[in-house]
Assembly symmetry: C2
Homo-oligomer: 360 residues x 2
DNA sequence: CTGAAAGCGCTTACAG
DNA sequence: CTGAAAGCGCTTACAG
């Protein structure tokens, strides 16, 4: 079944069939109806490749999930990429776009991405999990492809390639600042920080927010209270052990929830109770966090909103064929749960003060 | 940049360029090298649509995530579809295939699926979250498209359309049987069951396994101990309340972990302790389950293995162009954690017996 | 070993 | 309002 067959059966030319399919105005209602009837009857759908070859868009966007320095299948149970990807698919579908998912576990996997761009399989793509200033992505942007990136520094330099892409970030600095300030507000001064992957904006920006809050409160920054992680659970676990070998913080700000969970595990093994002995706050508000005992206090941004901004603006940029260069910073808010408490000055005051930090 | 340009620059014909790209044997090494150099230099990638129009496969499979009777965005934080989808993408990519993700929230969304099949965007598809005997999928199979389905009854009827597809299931009956038997082995006889969606194989097959275990142990089946759920957390929550209004089971077998989690929440609200007052076992072993307090005992099957079976056999069926009709039943095993304990005959014996049920 | 030519299934100026 | 024809960028018999 192709347009020629349909034309023959409907008693018109292929041109007319095409006009009907593309909903052109210059087709009289009766002709249109006649053709539509045949199309329906034969379950005819125009060959996508033929249309694209004639210059139609593929109406497909890619979502590129980058997870370097990890083995294959590790995003398998990733609690962050999954929800974001689903949200992207849903918003894109709503706008009539299909979504191709591409995973990048090694730098050379970027070849897959270049291919689908150059061979016109996709009209544009959203990148997540990327490090800051990634040269492979930079090249693609410079080649003129439509791209949205999540978690990328917004630079002042007008000439920077990333300025030609759509950027969607969480308000990392402010979120980290608020998280740290919250702990300070509970009376803590010995506040540790488990950092994220420092090659990513969310890694170094959250450290910056932590420092900013300390500085503002007049608490001296101590490098022994900062230990490096890389955003996965295990790194949080190891970081907590390393931390308590050289220091005795009363509170920890972990750069994401997964590391907070790993740290809580280590804390439990070392015999510290959360939040009685150590308060801990995370970042991201992943699904698991509310099921933990104690439920994890954390900083939350709307992944849904981020996905929507990326999708809507990417598609706008594709369809208007002009380089949209929007930049978005999504707000982050505190989700108080059970993993932080007021530092107890004296044992007697504990109960009442605990009650205060318990309200959700 | 197209093959004509490359041909001109390399000083050969388009035919030869094509032969090099497709790695045909009848090209002398020098010619091949010359052409390859130009291709590399100009970053040339053949237009995917043009190749497909000439009959090449799209080398893209679809993964269709069906989630009917729910609002949009609900699979957003689905703990089951996400990991499975990622696993499918990874296995497909390994075999050189791209993956298009399609969500179906309403029956009419199947239109999207038909479209990508008929317009040749995908070579085949894997369906998950489907109800048993879905007519929309049946039509697609009968139209001759290559399809793999997860969670679909394996029928004896040779003529049944689904017999022309690839089927991958968990061993639902046996898993449910083992779960129930495990509770019986702990001394329970008042064992409730929160069912899954009864339109799905995993829903009714797990009920069947539950019944089978009771029967074998000579425990009479009581309909007041069975309450309907539909595989989501909230339904487990409601089911638990309904259950305890009319009965006092000492153990619950929930048809999946999400409902078990909902039930645990309700149990806590009603003042029952898990596992001291009520034992509970789930099914699926989702990521959250091991973080719960008490950690959830559950039945686990390898999603990775299921995804691999579906992908590998679908692609085999696409490439060999013959209707592969493989059927797979993936084994399910018990994961003992903390949510079940031996029914205490007398309070005194409790401690020692609890220790037994505690080993993981 | 290599090139000229046909054709995959569409869309779209062009002519009427 | 409608059709004949060109052409998108490839691949592949065919001929040499």
């Amino acid at each position: 079944m192709n347009s020629k067959d349909i034309a023959k059966i409907a008693g018109v030319s292929r041109s007319t069939v095409s006009r009907v399919i593309n909903n052109y105005p210059n087709v009289p209602p009766e002709t249109k109806e006649k053709v539509l009837k045949v199309i329906k009857e034969y379950n005819y759908v125009p060959h996508a490749s033929a249309r694209m070859l004639r210059g139609k868009r593929s109406e497909t966007i890619g979502i590129v999930i980058v997870d370097l320095k990890r083995d294959i299948h590790k995003i398998y149970d990733n609690v962050y990429f999954g929800p974001f990807t689903t949200a992207v698919i849903d918003f894109a579908n709503q706008l009539g776009y299909k979504v191709l998912v591409i995973t990048v576990y090694k730098v050379k996997d970027y070849k897959k991405v270049r291919e689908v761009f150059y061979n016109k399989t996709i009209d544009g793509a959203i990148f997540i999990g990327i490090k800051n200033d990634d040269p492979d992505i930079k090249d693609l942007i410079e080649a003129g492809f439509k791209i949205a990136v999540v978690d990328q520094e917004i630079r002042d330099d007008e000439e920077d390639p990333f300025n030609k892409s759509i950027i969607v970030n969480m308000d990392n600095v402010n979120g980290a600042y608020e998280a740290t300030k919250y702990l300070i507000g509970l009376g803590h001064t010995e506040i540790a920080h488990i950092t994220g992957d420092m090659e990513k904006l969310s890694g170094f920006a959250r450290l910056e927010g932590y420092k900013k809050a300390l500085k503002e409160a007049g608490i001296p920054f101590k490098s022994r209270l900062v230990v490096k992680g890389d955003f996965v659970e295990e790194s949080g676990y190891k970081a907590a052990y390393k931390l308590f070998k050289k220091a005795k913080p009363t509170a920890i700000f972990a750069s994401n929830d997964q590391m907070a969970i790993g740290a809580m595990q280590a804390l439990e093994e070392m015999g510290y109770k959360v939040p009685e002995d150590v308060s801990i706050i995370g970042f991201d508000d992943i699904t698991i966090s509310r099921y933990l005992k104690p439920a994890l206090t954390t900083m939350s941004a709307s992944l849904l909103q981020m996905a929507e901004l990326a999708v809507v603006n990417l598609i706008k940029s594709i369809e208007e064929e002009l380089g949209i260069t929007a930049k978005f910073v999504v707000p982050v808010k505190l989700v108080e749960r059970e993993s932080c408490k007021r530092l107890n000055i004296s044992k007697e005051k504990e109960d009442t003060e605990y009650a205060i930090s318990m309200r959700r």
